[in-house]
Symmetry: C2
Subunit: 697 residues, 2 copies
């Protein structure tokens, strides 16, 4: 298939994904919803989410405007170094557009996700009155709208953009737009959601001993809003960004091979990406659950089906279009390693396995041991994933290397594309989590009864398990993508060096002091970045806890649950919003600025080290935080299911504290690190010429 | 000064250090001690510590025996590849002796430290009845015996060994012996001390609300034993190991330059090291505290004095012996960066600064926020130290580079020597901590009264602050040392490659897949290593908590504190001992074995990446753990001083939980990582030939 056909194929599949998303949306919309109480609460959640998103996007639009001006002046090279206006138009101005389109596409995908999620949650709650199977389907299909919208717009954007510009560097700009928006959206959403969640838990569960989602608690609505703005929109932005980045990196390298050898690797990247989305479409359509089925199994099964279909379709494509077998194997290695990392993550967060049970048991001796043992397993859990990423990168390189110059590093990027091929399915599974979590809240607040809450609890628990798996997957994918972005960085540097008549970069030698200098500082960045986000959550939480205390003290009858007395939920939403917006920029800005500073001091060699340190420590910390967070969450749930004393016991109290510590780990800092490493890598590639020409050493 | 004279100078200074240690020991011994109750408890502590050390060293002796046999067969190259018996004698057998001497010297230094510490603690407690100044002096001089013994034996060992063998590779074997013993001594001691400490706190402070060091608590004696075997012996072993490793790395590189150019760099390394010890001797002799002085200031002042003296003495040496000025500057940069890192660490753990106060304040909202905010500051605290290490390595390289081939990397190693020059003083300050901590316990258990306890509390608090500073220093020193060991590894590999007629290694290129493969796995090792240690503490603690519960339930009158009823402390000591011995080997063995496996799979390139990943993530995690642990400890103390509700308030309870989580961070896992990265680097250098000849890829 030639390049044009491949791109058209991508566009068709993307449109099919949008069609499916539309159909699913209509299906959800026409489901029954008649409970006025739920309707009212759901409206509160929706309007809270919309207000936050509007305010957040307003700030981000201003930020994007500033960045656009900086891009215009400096990227891909300073405007005063361009020979004429035509060059400015086809470089700097085109880059501005690439960047802006990236932000817009990424923002849109998030917006669609929230829109559907805030409808799906109430439908899921009400469907639970009819049984677990229909309730599951509502939750899953709500998530699938997000999945289809995200991957559809990612693929559509990349395909159309490449068709128009024919310039892979512009794709890096597009990807940077998507990533920078994702970075801030995740930071803001993550701070919002965890501020509300932790505050609600601290006062509700720990101090007063009232149940989760109790309508008396002023922070409960804010918590539900947070599920949407943090988990649905933030996570969608994250995987959008990884997907775009993996395609951009692969196309940069494929294009450089194709230019010199006339082969058709770019077309293959597009075909494989389209087949990945097609597999996810099929997987989503066939996902359902038997009447007495297990929701976790249903979610996992659809992932395995999608994986199998993708392997088959790419096999056929390889046969028909005579692609290199070696590249096919590399793709499949990426895919399988992604699945294997997901499974090992599951081991550390599944309540049927040793780690969760041991942590739950440790809670009997108080919260200190809950934290110590949970963190220990979190540290242990990084090993299989790190080995997995290491082995897949190594094999991809070695298998692709014999194909010729440039193929080795292209192999790594195509492994990342393989790993991210089934991302449509992954997002569907992941967005399912916050939807059923919200549904559980609505069922509780709407007074749908114990039986219904139990069903939503079951769905929620499956959501937690699957979420841990998809997060492991997302981190691995980001890791592999960023390794290929490192290769893309080198290729950008050498393109620039060739133009400027400078010596080409052959290696980033660890014993070069500039490389080591960058390495150490790059490694510190994810730690500092996480720290800034968590301190934001901490500050904001304390403000909200005070407000909740004030309400319980000052509103007569609230604590006792007097009929008709309602908390002032909007005040909590305001605090969460304001705090999140204030804490949004520093962490992300720090990561971007320090990259530029290191590059200006140490040049491209320092940046090579910086990116490496950043990837290594970023992947490590992201895995640690996501996994220990998921582990504590499920440890708490395991005790709540009646083990080690059950609800209300000392062990339970300790486990709740563990869960609270895990909240910003797994939903604020941990997953934001993915985006941070991608953004930093893209900044590096875009600034390649600047670093090459203006560095101090 | 020629090499022989320099070595003789080293030996003289080492002997002077031993003389000073002996004099200090006699001074302490003749101090007043008349309280029979304290005498009795102190005997219990002493015998507990001796029993543990005896059992631990028995296991380690067996381990060392096995390693010695493996060394005989395989190192520096397989015995069947040696041409004749003379070669075996001067290589494999010499290496066995180097290794064994390293373990013996390291073990001896630890043993001396414990011996003196268990005397100094009771003298310090009783001196507190006469005021803070004499009490301080007892604590400090007790620590100084350790400082002098450690650095004296390290310098003596290296000097004599090099004089006899004239072979720098043998020094690596000596260093490996010291490090491998340190690794296990710290792991075992760290698990022992934290098992006892956490158990005592969990049941005593958290559950029953009885004071620290209450004689009713069955774990209190074990806790005091732990201070000696974990903090005194363990930390001494750690810095012994860093000091030896820094000298070994510098000498390996200096020798390689001297051989080709005939210059006298090895002599300079010896002279500078001896001057460092001389400065510490002077610093120790002049350390004291005014009647109304501040113990923290007194400790810091002696560090600054030592630093100043060293800078002056090396300046004179450079003038007189005409050493290269560039090397002098590099040495001073290392020294200053060490001090600066210490100061920034102080910012994060000093209770007069924002981080500790914010964490204490967060405790008002419960333990979850104590943990979240403490971890956040812990993550933030890595930045200045990482930048410090990065900048000093970079500058050292750049400044030394113009001196000629090989000087650039030698520059890094001489910066590490500079940083570690004042290590005698650092150890004195550090060992002071557990001694006064123990004295506090003895004052409480011996019933010396509120006033005396208050004095020992003040001394203890200074110990905590200084401990955090010295730990920051130790980690930075280990980091810089290991960077120079990486360079030493390359030089070992190339020596071997030259011998075998293979191609020389020019670089470790990050984009080489083997390097990246090693990098990712190496980065995971410190996390897994910490995890295994902390899980050991966790398991062991739960056993001990059960035992304490049993005693309080079954021994009549114990809880009520009936006159004459004593807990069965020996049972707790037995549990701590048994658990520590059982958990001792796995973590260290894991680190050593995975290094060998990665080398056998990916060869020397993979090991280059592996060491780099290990250093970067090791330094990061060690800083994070040590600093957040110190921060929580001081946050708790800040509340106990009457802030945010003071003792017994909810904030205090939360802060105690934070402190408990921090315990294995700062005293088990964090500082052990230093040793882990050193051991792994030495293993790599020693196995250089094996990896070069036998790797899979």
């Amino acid at each position: 298939m030639n390049l044009t056909l491949a791109i058209i194929f991508c566009i068709i599949i993307s449109l099919a994904a949008f069609l499916l998303a539309g159909w699913l949306y209509l299906w959800i919309k026409k489901q029954d919803s008649s409970n006025p109480k739920i309707e009212k609460i759901s409206d509160l959640i929706k309007s809270g989410a919309n207000t936050f998103i509007r305010k957040e996007y307003t700030i981000l639009a201003k930020f994007a405007g500033v960045v656009a001006i900086l891009i215009l002046i400096f990227l891909p090279r300073p405007i005063w170094n361009q020979p004429n206006f035509a060059a400015i138009l086809s470089n700097n101005i085109a880059m501005v557009f690439s960047y802006l389109f990236g932000t817009i596409f990424s923002g849109l995908a998030g917006k669609i996700g929230i829109f559907v999620a805030t409808i799906a949650n109430k439908k899921t709650a009400e469907a639970a009155t009819r049984g677990i199977a229909p309730s599951f389907l509502n939750g899953f299909r709500g998530g699938a709208v997000m999945g289809m919208a995200v991957v559809g717009s990612s693929l559509l954007g990349v395909a159309v953009f490449f068709w128009v510009t024919k310039n892979p560097t512009m794709l890096l700009g597009f990807s940077f737009g998507a990533s920078s928006l994702a970075l801030f959206a995740k930071a803001g959403g993550g701070i919002f959601t965890k501020t509300a969640d932790i505050s609600a838990d601290l006062v509700g569960k720990v101090e007063l001993g009232i149940p989760e989602d109790d309508p008396r608690n002023p922070a409960v609505i804010a918590d539900n809003v947070g599920d949407n703005v943090g988990d649905v929109a933030g996570m969608g932005a994250d995987l959008f960004d990884s997907h775009v980045a993996s395609l951009a990196a692969a196309i940069v390298m494929a294009a450089s091979i194709d230019t010199s050898t006339g082969s058709n690797n770019v077309a293959m990247v597009f075909v494989f990406a389209a087949l990945g989305l097609l597999s996810s479409i099929i997987g989503v359509m066939f996902a359902k659950m038997g009447k007495n089925g297990n929701p976790t199994r249903a979610l996992n099964l659809s992932t395995y089906i999608t994986t199998g279909i993708f392997a088959l379709l790419t096999l056929l494509a390889t046969l028909i279009f005579k692609y290199e077998w070696r590249l096919y194997f590399v793709t499949i290695i990426g895919l399988l390693v992604g699945v294997i990392i997901g499974i090992t993550t599951d081991y550390f967060t599944n309540d049927e396995r040793k780690p969760v049970r041991k942590v739950a048991e440790a809670s009997k001796s108080g919260p200190a041991l809950t934290i110590i043992s949970g963190m220990s397993y979190g540290f242990l859990s990084v090993l299989p994933a790190m080995i997995g990423i290491a082995v897949s990168a190594f094999l991809a390189f070695k298998i692709a290397d014999p194909l010729g110059e440039g193929y080795a590093l292209f192999g790594i990027s195509i492994a990342a594309v393989g790993m991210l091929s089934i991302v449509g399915m992954i997002i569907s599974n992941d967005a399912y989590g916050p939807i059923v979590d919200n549904a559980r809240g609505l069922a509780e607040m709407g007074g749908l009864g114990e039986e219904v809450i139990k069903i939503t609890d079951q769905l929620d628990s499956a959501g937690n398990t699957v979420k841990a798996v998809t997060k492991g997957f997302a981190i691995a994918a980001a890791g592999l993508t960023v390794i290929s972005l490192l290769a893309a960085f080198k290729s950008e540097v050498n393109d620039a060096a060739r133009e400027l008549g400078l010596e080409l970069i052959e290696a980033f030698n660890i014993l070069d002091p500039a490389v080591f200098f960058g390495l150490l500082i790059g490694a510190a960045v994810p730690a500092v970045f996480s720290s800034l986000l968590m301190l934001g959550v901490d500050r904001n939480t304390r403000r909200m806890v005070e407000e909740i205390h004030r309400q319980f003290d000052e509103i007569p009858g609230l604590k006792e649950g007097k009929e008709g007395v309602m908390p002032e939920s909007d005040k909590c939403i305001d605090i969460a919003t304001e705090g999140a917006l204030k804490e949004l920029l520093p962490a992300g800005a720090f990561a971007i600025i320090i990259t530029i500073v290191v590059g200006l001091i140490g040049g491209v060699q320092a940046i090579g080290g910086f990116l490496t340190g950043n990837i290594v420590s970023g992947v490590l910390l992201a895995l640690f935080m996501s996994n220990s967070g998921g582990l504590w969450d499920n440890g708490k749930k395991y005790i709540e299911a009646g083990n080690f004393g059950g609800k209300g016991s000392d062990a339970h109290k300790a486990a709740v504290i563990g869960d609270t510590v895990g909240d910003p780990f797994k939903d604020t800092a941990g997953p934001s690190i993915n985006t941070q490493i991608t953004v930093v890598s893209l900044v590096a590639s875009l600034f390649a010429i600047i670093f090459l020409t203006f560095s101090l050493f």
